[in-house]
């Protein structure tokens, strides 16, 4: 009886270890690796794909950033761009339709192939046609001219002042992919083919769990390579991620509202940036839910919301109440607008009665259960709006796929969601009001703002700032949406690392060991 079981256990252990070593390699926890050599980062979710065209923006762009340097880089709070793979860039015309980018000399992809203007053109075409959530950014490009090997001219279909920003870390468009890898698309999702300081080591990577990056031998600036290895670990549980940071297993970890107090108490550094705008976004302005077509009803909703207590409850005080879409400091933001909708139940009821909805109405609302702050906010809103007779009929979905499918049915009058508007009102315009915008499933036309948005897109400088502020005022005055709070997005990091808070586009490449 004893012998067979021993053999069984030995065999099982052998299978395990063979599979284990073939796959994982170091998981960043080996005692020999010090914080000076290896940078280990904890993120909450794996990337959908490593292909920059499908990777998504925000925190998951961290997975592409070490390997795919983008043409431009977002500076500080995200308002300005600096050259990165590019040596310089400028608008050729005054209408924001032709952007010229000059590449650095001698750029090479991680396999040694030259990165030239033709490669930029091929990468842009791939981005626009690969079928992804951000393809619309690439589709704004009418053509890419390549007058010489280092010069690229992006000709846009319509004026777009945000385009340089899209070439930075905002979308994956500026992350140039090796044309060889595009030709053989099979491995784009699980390996990297960029010109960044690092390249993914497929041997030391377990897709969905651990992503390991090693220095790219062909990178043009060896001094910019600060670590021998960067490891990004997926740690879904925020408590575990924070514990891993506190125990030194990782040096950087994603922040959650509940974690801030604990991180500060533990003496950790925090990098916090204004993040997504969480709120009630109308998916309809009168066709499905007639009440939403009435400006008084939409204003009543804005008056009925107690933003301060909602922000307190949902983000534990880290979020800031707001009535406008753009975050403070971004294009079109106007501090004066914050006084437009104070919490005023009497006024809200009066407006509801005036619109003929004294008895309220039912609002079918889509809730993403996978965005905890939005899902909590939906419950809070249901309570608050019940006070003026509005019944939020909440329908929760658990995955982004199910959310997109539900939104596509156009059965919902509203959705509670946290949406990032990194460029202020222009971002909001393209995400919520455009004819193909993600947040406009019923393809509404918004005649009061769309013409102004088109006109403002062709402006620059002070004229642009004034125009976008005026558009923002219209959006708020007409209560086209009901923004509620600006969330905080950020990271906790140990004393061993610096550069985490260098830019709002948190990028591992800019992190370095503390001297």
């Amino acid at each position: 009886m004893r012998l067979p079981s021993k053999i069984g256990i030995a065999a099982a252990a052998c299978v395990m270890s063979v599979a284990g070593t073939a796959a994982c390699g170091s998981s960043g926890t080996s005692p020999s690796s010090s914080a000076k050599d290896v940078l280990t980062i904890a993120l909450g979710t794996p990337p959908v794909s490593l292909d920059p065209s499908r990777g998504g923006n925000g925190p998951t762009a961290m997975y592409q950033a070490p390997a795919y340097q983008s043409l431009l880089h977002l500076e500080g709070d995200g308002g300005t761009e600096s050259p990165s793979l590019a040596e310089s860039f400028k608008w050729v015309d005054a209408r924001n339709t032709e952007l010229q980018v000059v590449l650095r000399p001698g750029l090479k992809f991680s396999d040694g192939t030259a990165l030239d203007a033709a490669a930029v053109k091929a990468s842009t075409a791939h981005f626009a046609t690969n079928g992804s959530a951000f393809a619309y950014v690439g589709q704004r490009v009418a053509s890419v001219d390549t007058p010489d090997a280092r010069t690229v001219v992006f000709k846009l279909k319509e004026p777009d002042p945000t385009f340089p920003n899209q070439l930075a870390e905002t979308s994956g468009l500026g992350m140039i992919i090796n044309p060889k890898a595009i030709a053989d698309k099979a491995n784009l999702g699980t390996s990297t083919a960029g010109a960044g300081p690092y390249a993914l080591s497929t041997e030391q990577t377990v897709v969905g769990t651990t992503y390991t990056y090693l220095p790219n031998p062909h990178y043009y600036d060896k001094s910019a390579v600060k670590y021998q290895k960067i490891v990004i670990k997926v740690i879904a549980d925020p408590n575990t991620a924070l514990a891993a940071l506190q125990s030194g297993q990782v040096q950087v970890a994603y922040a959650t509202p509940a974690g801030f107090a604990q991180a500060k108490a533990a003496g950790l550094n925090t990098a916090a940036f204004p993040g997504a705008t969480n709120g009630l976004f109308f998916q309809d302005h009168g066709k499905l839910v007639p009440a939403l077509g009435d400006i008084d009803v939409r204003r009543a909703i804005n008056y009925a919301i107690d933003r301060k207590s909602a922000a307190e409850a949902v983000t534990l005080g880290t979020g800031k109440p707001t009535v406008q879409l753009p975050v403070a400091g971004s294009l079109g933001h106007d501090p004066a607008l914050e006084d437009v909708y104070p919490h005023d139940l009497a006024k809200a009821k009066e407006l509801m009665a005036k619109a003929g909805y004294a008895d309220g109405f039912t609002l079918p609302t889509l809730v993403p259960a996978f965005v905890p702050t939005s899902s909590n906010l939906a419950q809070t809103l249901a309570d608050q709006l019940a006070k003026i007779g509005i019944t939020l009929k909440l329908e929760s979905v658990t995955t982004i796929g199910a959310y997109a499918a539900a939104q596509g049915t156009a059965k919902f009058g509203a959705t509670v969601f946290a949406v990032g508007f990194p460029l202020g009102v222009p971002s909001a315009a393209s995400v919520l009001f455009g004819p193909t915008a993600q947040g406009n499933p019923r393809r509404e036309e918004f005649p009061t703002v769309m013409p102004a948005i088109k006109a403002a897109s062709a402006l620059s400088g002070d004229a642009a700032a004034t125009a976008w502020q005026r558009i923002n005022k219209t959006i708020v005055d007409e209560a086209l949406e009901a923004p509620i709070m600006t969330e905080v997005y950020g990271y906790f990091f140990s004393k061993d690392v610096q550069g985490v808070d260098e830019s709002i586009a948190v990028n591992p490449v800019y992190m370095a060991p503390t001297p």
Binding site: T209, T210, A243, V397, G401, Y403
Partner: protein, 313 residues
């Protein structure tokens, strides 16, 4: 014996087909497929149609399934719809950590469960009642909660163990063990309770039976009666619980893997389900089913070894 094995394997084949087909149908019925996951909200119907065509999701369900089955029979489980990674490779990368976690947890819960159960059956009285209460307590505490508590104690308060991650056995045996101590403890806790309770009940029956009286009358030592003869007689009952527990631990591993960030099949299954990644879900389901079938086969054969009187039909 050989006939028994052949028959069991023959029965398992239709089971695999059935489980994979049901998984296929259920996942296909869930709203939001992989095309939606990739394209996100705001995808136009043309974009969706184009991507579904690329992914092969626009074909009739049955034809999609038979194609998958045909390839699966030749060992090709396809590639992830989202990342493009071959499913076989993805599972190969993550199988080791799940097997380590679940097998170690089976060993730990069986060993401690049997020891505690046998001891309390032999002692009886208050101790037996205490074991009963503790078993219930162990069953009531969810593994993930225990996991978080363990992290609090052994990672933060007394930093002796890592909070997350998996170290392959061949890379560092001690690292492997260290990376698994907390997850195994969290996963086995409930199992120890179940096994202890079952072992105590089985042992009480055995210790009250005639052959034990005969052994006692013949002057056998107490320890020998309990741990050699008694345990052997009670083993069949305990083994059948271990089989059921294995299945429970396999599903319990999903949460534990997520808490301790272990690269396992559980986290793979969760991620694939959230993304509507059909080939990956099917691959993981097939492997989970195979593991359950294999575990039951091994346990049934152990029955034979422990008690040759057990007849397989």
């Amino acid at each position: 014996m050989t006939r028994f094995l052949v028959r069991r394997i023959a029965v398992s084949a239709p089971l695999l087909v059935m489980v994979s087909f049901l998984t296929f149908v259920l996942v296909s019925l869930t709203p939001g497929d992989a095309a939606y996951t990739v394209l996100g909200a705001g995808a136009t119907s043309e974009q969706l149609a184009q991507l579904r065509d690329q992914m092969g999701l626009d074909r009739p369900l049955l034809s999609q399934y038979t194609t998958w089955l045909g390839h699966a029979l030749s060992g090709d489980f396809g590639a992830s719809l989202i990342s493009g990674q071959p499913v076989g490779h993805a599972i190969g990368q993550q199988l080791a950590s799940t097997l380590s976690l679940v097998l170690l947890s089976v060993l730990v819960s069986t060993f401690f469960g049997v020891m505690i159960g046998a001891w309390s059956a032999a002692r009886g009285g208050r101790l037996a009642r205490l074991v009963d209460s503790l078993s219930f307590a162990a069953l009531a505490v969810p593994g993930f909660l225990l996991g978080l508590l363990l992290i609090l104690v052994f990672v933060l308060a007394v930093p002796v163990l890592p909070a997350s991650g998996y170290v392959p056995l061949l890379e560092s045996p001690s690292g492997w063990l260290r990376s698994l101590v907390l997850p195994v403890a969290a996963l086995s806790f409930g199992g120890i309770g179940i096994i202890a309770k079952q072992s105590r009940a089985a042992m009480e029956d055995v210790l009250g039976s005639e052959f034990v009286v005969v052994l006692r009358a013949n002057g056998f030592r107490r320890g020998s009666i309990i741990y050699r003869h008694g345990l052997k007689a009670a083993a069949v009952r305990i083994q059948s619980v271990v089989g059921v527990m294995f299945v429970g631990l396999l599903s319990g591993s999903v949460l534990i893997e997520s808490i301790f960030a272990l690269p396992g099949l559980g986290s793979l299954a969760v991620q694939a389900s959230a993304q509507g990644d059909l080939p990956l879900i099917l691959g993981v389901t097939v492997v989970f089913t195979l593991l359950v079938v294999a575990a039951n086969l091994i346990l049934d054969n152990l029955f034979l070894l422990v008690n040759p009187k057990v007849v397989h039909r």
